[in-house]
């Protein structure tokens, strides 16, 4: 079956939409379509990919406006009579065609205080304590959550806000039963947790189904409230030391 696929192409500031007609087949995913176009019609089409199994997080793009991994969305999920529009992630600068420069994310990551091991000999932790943070380790760093977050995408506040992926990394470290670090001040001041307004788009687009908002961001917001916005807690701390 013939399908129409429209891909944003170009580099620097010179972008255009390129329409292709390709042969769709059963079980085909969007990345297969892009590869077929690359093989037959546009050998210079740039696309980043690796595992084709939703585990490497390389093929992030916007398919019909929705941030998705191209290897995880089937062609059959889209109306056959309508073209499929594929664009690069909007929140990051385009290098070429569907490839974006996500290096900002790695710079943010470097600023987060890493795991601080306790001084005690033979520290141990129980599975029930680790369960909570285990979920966050499923992250494949596709940066779809960063792309969909309106604080980065629309308001472009990259200098003041770390984004859901790194608020979650903070949560993973803060909730770690052995970690000795304190990241609440940087969460509030440098990582801008107050800018998150809980619209849950990050959770909705996560291909690993991590409950980013409820299990990572909100618990961190609550801990920041404990530390900075709760006068009763402050008095209690003063009284009990």
């Amino acid at each position: 079956m013939k399908r129409k696929v429209i891909i944003q192409r170009g580099e620097k500031s010179d972008f255009f939409m390129h329409e292709f007609e390709m042969e769709g087949g059963p079980g085909m995913v969007i990345l297969d379509a892009v590869h077929q176009i690359q093989a037959k019609d546009a050998p210079d089409l740039a696309v980043r990919w690796n595992c084709k199994a939703g585990k490497c997080g390389s093929c992030s793009a916007e398919v019909n406006g929705e941030p998705k991994l191209m290897c995880m969305c089937r062609m059959s999920d889209y109306d056959e009579s309508e073209p499929i529009v594929i664009k690069p992630m909007k929140a990051f600068p385009v290098i070429k065609d569907l490839v974006t420069d996500v290096s900002w994310n790695y710079e943010v990551n470097k600023k987060i205080l890493p795991y601080q091991h306790p001084d005690t000999e033979d520290p141990r932790m129980l599975q029930e304590d680790v369960d909570r943070v285990q979920e966050f380790r499923k992250c494949i760093e596709c940066f779809l959550c960063q792309d969909v977050c309106h604080v980065i995408r629309d308001s472009d506040m990259k200098s003041e806000y770390a984004g859901p992926r790194f608020l979650m990394r903070n949560a993973m470290l803060e909730m770690h039963p052995l970690d000795q670090g304190n990241r609440l001040e940087t969460l509030k001041e440098d990582n801008g947790i107050g800018l998150c307004n809980i619209t849950r788009c990050c959770t909705e687009v996560c291909p690993e189904n991590i409950t980013i908002t409820d299990n990572a961001i909100i618990p961190m917001k609550e801990r920041v409230v404990d530390e900075y916005y709760d006068p009763l807690k402050w008095i209690w701390k003063k009284l009990t030391g």
């Binding site: 604080v151 039963p177 809980i198 619209t199 788009c201 404990d226």
Partner: protein, 276 residues
């Protein structure tokens, strides 16, 4: 490289979409925020009508509107809980506005600062953003760092009040099983019990409560049995917090409508009740 260099015909799809709520999404993303906005608006209009009734701006001033006590029943309109009887009469006589205003700020504050409620309000009422990957009408943004949204950080204080309110709603439900000196059951008893149940579920699944009971510690196995068990219960309930938000909103409105409007205002005498 450009489209001219490649010699390809111009495409009917633009590189950028302009206008209000611009997006490349082709699904009906606007249905959910629209439905949410409609339910919230209905609740808002109903509450305003209730306040106007109490104030005497509309309707007859003869009826109480908060307590229904005909046919031996003891029904309290849940929106006005705990009701004017909970306050000294001197204070009430000096208060020129509807008595409900003295109480309603607490549940409204709890819902307004609720972590699930924020998603609903920001998306459906403030379009900040209206949908995921949908352009915001206003790009400048300060989140919850400054006034007015910094108030959202007070959610835990409204939680404490909401816990008291949930207990009061159970008291009103309990009271509704007594008809004069007899014990019985009416439609009001049923609807007040459902209201108390879902309000309790909504409050018990709160994110702030989750933080207070175990969420704020890194080593949950180091805490006592009650905290550990409580944390695991809240973790379970918390997954359905949004559902309880909506059900409790509808049940409180339905219970209030039955008692205040159907029985109180319309003066309907043919009510279902079974008294021993």
């Amino acid at each position: 490289m450009s489209s001219d260099a490649l010699d390809i015909p111009p495409c009917f799809v633009p590189v950028e979409k302009k206008g209000l709520f611009a997006t490349f999404r082709t699904d009906k993303w606007w249905i959910q925020p629209l439905i949410m906005a409609l339910i919230l608006t209905t609740f808002g209009i109903y509450t305003i009508i209730v306040l106007l009734l109490e104030h005497g701006t509309i309707g007859s001033i003869e009826n109480d509107y908060i307590y229904y006590s005909e046919n031996g029943a003891h029904y309290v309109s849940p929106i006005s809980s705990p009701g004017p009887n909970a306050l000294p009469s001197e204070l009430l006589s000096a208060w020129p506005l509807p008595a409900t205003l003295l109480f309603i700020w607490a549940p409204l504050g709890f819902r307004g600062t609720c972590y699930y409620g924020r998603r609903v309000f920001y998306r459906s009422l403030l379009a900040n953003p209206a949908g995921c990957a949908v352009d915001k009408p206003i790009k400048s943004y300060n989140g919850e760092n400054g006034f007015p949204f910094i108030i959202m950080n007070s959610h835990r204080y409204f939680l404490y009040l909401a816990i008291i309110l949930a207990i009061l709603h159970w008291y009103h439900a309990f009271e509704s099983y007594f008809f004069g000196d007899s014990i019985g059951f009416g439609f009001g008893s049923f609807i007040l019990t459902i209201d108390a149940l879902f309000l309790t579920l909504y409050v018990s699944s709160c994110h702030s409560l989750r933080n207070l009971i175990g969420g704020n510690v890194d080593c949950i196995s180091c805490t006592n049995y009650v905290k550990k068990k409580g944390n695991s219960w809240i973790n379970y309930l918390n997954q359905h917090h949004g559902l309880y938000f909506w059900i409790s909103l509808v049940t409180i409105m339905a219970a209030d409508f039955y008692i205040r409007i159907y029985l109180g205002l319309l003066g309907n005498e043919e009510i279902f009740q079974w008294v021993m």
